[in-house]
Subunit: 119 residues, 2 copies
DNA sequence: CCCGTTGTGTAGACACCCTACATGTAGGCT
DNA sequence: AGCCTACATGTAGGGTGTCTACACAACGGG
């Protein structure tokens, strides 16, 4: 997966995996991989700063917890975050529609015509 | 359209509008707007450098032409560009599939349940 | 005792898109 | 004549979000 392609969609992904239940960073990364069928391998250096960014903008809130001697910072969606997620979803639809309509091959564009089409 | 969302998809867009016929930069920008139903307003400062990048990597070739006193640099797909376009299309499918499967709302995620579901 | 897994985090590099500007021709309007 | 819009190409510099690489730390198994 081209790293640049993720640009601007990270927030949507994070908000989406947190919609059902609060999770900590490490679990979020695993959830992204699992939900995408292994296609998404987001490094920690991307996720942790993004989570802090989303907390700073009020879309997430976090609490510390200790489980089995390990310290976790668990993030959950705020009300603002839920609204943001809806916006991201609609933006995603618009985005894919726009790009898709440009990318979709037009009839006659193929360099090797399949049909006869002669005269 | 969030500028960051376009990141990494510009090449695919340019290659795609050039698939059917060679075009010059200005016409490419108009074609992108038209094909996307007005959703894509890509500034010249994005398109011209991107076209040169694609020419440098061998996916495009260009010739100068003069039409009505105006000088145009007309770009066309190379064979390498056509192969690249196929790759970009398949990458786009993978990308939307991966993001889509994460973004798709799960049953039970809604904060306000519509059904009763009690007991 | 080392190593893999779990877990959080920062620093710096890099890539690419954007804003803003520079330059020039053609044609219409006043 | 002067001005404005459309057409047409291009560069410089800024911003910002993702990545690579690293640091730290606790746990459990071999």
């Amino acid at each position: 997966m081209n790293p640049d392609a993720l640009r601007g969609h990270m927030d949507a992904l994070l908000l989406s995996v947190l919609e059902a239940e609060p999770l900590h960073g490490y679990a979020i990364i695993e959830a992204l991989q699992e939900r995408s069928g292994g296609a998404l391998s987001v490094p920690t250096g991307t996720v942790y700063p993004a989570l802090r960014r989303l907390e700073r903008t009020g879309h997430l809130a976090s609490e510390w917890a200790t489980v089995g001697g390990r310290k976790r910072r668990t993030y959950r969606l705020t009300e603002s975050g839920r609204r943001q997620l809806e916006g991201e979803r609609s933006a995603w639809r618009d985005f894919t529609t726009a790009i898709g309509s440009v990318l979709r091959p037009r009839p006659g564009d193929a360099r090797a015509e399949t049909g006869p089409l002669r005269s």
